[in-house]
């Protein structure tokens, strides 16, 4: 009898332990889908570096361990949809971070909306990503803001009266930036004819002399040429060879060491907007991020790593404030984010889930990116 009672107690205890253990030790799972292979791999890798760093800094919330699960989306829309679906169904994540590349993020949009899993994008700047989707948020500003910032800079700082635009017509962000630059530039100069030339090229093009000859004939004060760093650097080189010596302006994609190595002397003085600079830390969190990044990776941090870091920290902050790691609670918390201090600046999310935050303007000086100024949102 005694023995049976002992056995029963033992079983009971075991059940209790396992039950309590299951409730408390169950880690909070956060999924990450980024392009780790394929044409966007460089950007995806930088972002994941930032996320992993953030996880090392803070891997616990509400007394529970946090686990990040990284899946590769191969820079491919179909794979991106598969990857996100896998995170939700197989890994049962409560929130998702990703992805570098707006089209990849859009492929995940329908799935996270249907499964009601909150998702935070690091650097997808296409306005369509978060539109009509209550579960998609992002910690970066969007193309309309960036394009407007550069138009402001051109008119107010450089005193430009006319501008030419050369866009990469196959890249959504390039087309987006160009469009908003054009609108803002016309508005600021008050002259509907102030954009003297709009030329297009395709990703992978090597020769831009046709576009540049047109631009040269129109004699603009500045040239706005958002595009991939490789093509842009080549374009600027060829422009200098043709004797075009007006300033070149661009977007956040120029912030890559390759831009400097391909462009060499020619890209001196090129000015672009970006999310973050290692040179002028905007918040105390930036200082902290820069230092630990240097310690771990032995190099200067870039904007994509910083955005990945912010996306992770933002989710953890929301979980802590909500006191719950349920997807719905996280979503509601994200919708209310106001003045979150991140490495890339103070982040508030608007009604679309887009970050309202400052942009940084950098210039190439002596083969280095040099911080010029910070532009606050309107």
């Amino acid at each position: 009898m005694k023995r049976r009672l002992g056995l029963a107690l033992l079983v009971l205890a075991a059940v209790c332990v396992s039950w309590v253990g299951a409730a408390f030790a169950q880690p909070i799972k956060i999924g990450v889908f980024e392009p780790m292979t394929g044409p966007n791999a460089a950007g995806g890798e930088m972002t994941v570096e930032g996320i992993e760093l953030a996880w090392e800094v803070r891997s616990e919330v509400l007394g529970r361990e946090v686990q990040i699960i990284v899946v590769d989306n191969k820079s491919d829309k179909v794979e991106a949809a598969n990857a996100v679906s896998r995170l939700i169904e197989r890994d049962q994540v409560v929130a998702i971070i990703g992805s570098y590349g707006s089209s990849l993020s859009m492929a995940a949009g329908d799935i996270v909306k249907k499964a009601q899993i909150p998702t935070v994008g690091c650097s997808p700047t296409n306005p369509l990503v978060t539109l009509n989707n209550d579960y998609y948020f992002r910690v970066c500003f969007i193309d309309p803001f960036q394009g407007t910032v550069m138009a402001n800079y051109a008119v107010n700082e450089l005193g430009a009266k006319t501008a030419a635009v050369i866009q990469d017509v196959t890249q959504d962000y390039s087309v987006g930036l160009a469009k908003y630059f054009i609108d803002a530039f016309r508005r600021l100069t008050g002259n509907p004819n102030s954009i003297v030339e709009i030329s297009s090229y395709n990703t992978g093009d090597q020769d831009f002399t046709a576009q540049l000859t047109n631009v040269k004939n129109k004699n603009p004060d500045v040239i706005f040429a958002p595009g991939n760093y490789g093509e842009s650097a080549l374009l600027i080189r060829q422009a200098r060879d043709l004797g075009i010596d007006v300033p070149f302006l661009g977007g956040d994609t120029w912030e890559a060491p390759e831009f400097l190595s391909i462009g060499g002397e020619a890209v001196e003085g090129a000015v672009f907007s970006t999310h973050f600079t290692a040179e002028a830390p905007v918040t105390p969190e930036s200082d902290r991020f820069l230092e630990i990044y240097r310690q771990k990776y032995g190099k200067e941090a870039n904007a994509f790593a910083a955005l990945g870091y912010d996306a992770y920290m933002l989710i953890l902050d929301v979980i802590e404030k909500a006191g719950s790691a349920e997807p719905q609670a996280i979503r509601d918390g994200l919708a209310k984010v106001e003045g979150f201090v991140g490495a890339t600046g103070i982040i508030s999310l608007d009604e679309n889930g887009d970050a309202v935050k400052s942009a940084v303007i950098n210039r190439v000086d002596n083969g280095k990116f040099v911080y010029l100024t910070t532009v606050e949102p309107e």
């Binding site: 829309k77 896998r86 499964a115 087309v175």
Partner: protein
């Protein structure tokens, strides 16, 4: 003859098993697995339609991504709700004749197929006079042209920004229903006189012509049928993903399908079906290779892209093992060159 009966039986068995399996899958599996099953169905359709041109008719065509793009955009623009169109085209308004159109999935799919087929005829007419590598280059060029046109027609396709909010009509019954119809269609076509003519053209064009086969008519027909199904499959894919952009339809997409066709064996219907499913499932099943593996005492850090390496090795091995099937096909070509 006995061979044919055996493949008949195998195909029928596979069909019955597949329907039962699909029914069970739809009932018990989660969204992720159902998504993979959907994709497999779409790739079966794509693989078979490409096999019709490249395998049965012996025309080396690489234009599939282009036809898929046409189908995908047709379905997207026809099924998207009107409010969603307004939201997408915030840059430049959509062309007025498309702004207020919203039709059901079936008519949209049919339209996708028909428009693709029409383009297939349009492209096929001049291009199909070319042979082998020249045809490959011309069709490749066509696919690129489609992509470039879609990138630049902002008010029709929303350009590089892409479209989102395409209703998700695609489910297991749509994707596999179309796949089964394709299997049935291609099988009946190949068994009939048209199929015989296609294969005669593949084996020896001069002899086929001497036998009274209208080369041009049959080549264009094969091309049009294939582009019809490619267009429908593109539409299914668009509806499954809910978002498309021109960059999706690159040459790599065509190569993915070509890989399925070659792996399953040119002119092999069952082979194509099996390889389409295996390739799609494998790409996902091998994902564990990318992850860190925890053996309890030691943790092996995952290398992203590892699954691609393993996948490629498996591919190479399979192709080596299957060499016999491929070689017979190649021999046929060599002899026709020799006679020329």
């Amino acid at each position: 003859m006995r061979d044919k009966q055996r493949t008949d039986l195998a195909a029928l068995l596979a069909l019955v098993c597949a329907v039962v399996a699909l029914f069970l899958a739809n009932k018990y599996l989660d969204d992720y697995k159902i998504r993979i099953i959907n994709l497999s169905g779409i790739y079966v359709t794509l693989g078979l339609s490409m096999n019709l041109i490249n395998g049965f008719t012996g025309l080396f065509s690489l234009g599939h991504a282009g036809f898929m793009a046409v189908g995908a955009y047709t379905v997207a623009l026809l099924t998207m709700p009107i409010s969603m169109k307004e939201m997408n085209f915030f840059f430049q308004p959509i062309v007025p004749w498309l702004a207020n159109v919203e039709v059901g999935f079936l008519p949209a799919l049919l339209a996708a197929g028909l428009i693709s087929a029409f383009l297939g005829v349009l492209i096929g007419a001049p291009v199909l006079r070319l042979r082998d590598d020249y045809l490959a280059i011309a069709t490749l060029g066509f696919a690129e042209i489609i992509r470039v046109v879609f990138t630049n027609t902002q008010s029709l396709t929303n350009g590089a920004l892409g479209l989102k909010g395409i209703p998700n009509y695609t489910n297991i019954w749509w994707s596999w229903g179309v796949a089964f119809i394709t299997v049935w269609f291609v099988t009946s076509l190949i068994r009939g006189s048209y199929g015989k003519a296609f294969m005669a053209i593949r084996e020896d064009e001069v002899a086929a012509q001497a036998m009274g086969i209208n080369l041009f008519k049959h080549k264009v027909m094969s091309f049009a049928f294939a582009s019809f199904f490619a267009g429908v499959a593109g539409g299914l894919l668009a509806s499954l993903l809910g978002t498309i952009d021109p960059n999706m339809f690159r040459i790599t997409l065509t190569f993915n399908i070509l890989l399925i066709v070659v792996l399953g064996g040119l002119s092999r219907i069952t082979g194509t079906v099996i390889s389409a499913v295996v390739v799609t499932v494998m790409m996902e099943a091998l994902r564990f290779l990318d992850e860190s593996i925890n053996l309890g005492f030691i943790e092996i850090k995952g290398v992203p892209g590892m699954r691609m390496v393993v996948f490629s090795i498996i591919l190479i091995l399979v192709v080596i093992v299957r060499k016999a099937g491929l070689m017979t096909r190649l021999k046929g070509r060599e002899s026709s060159y020799a006679e020329n």
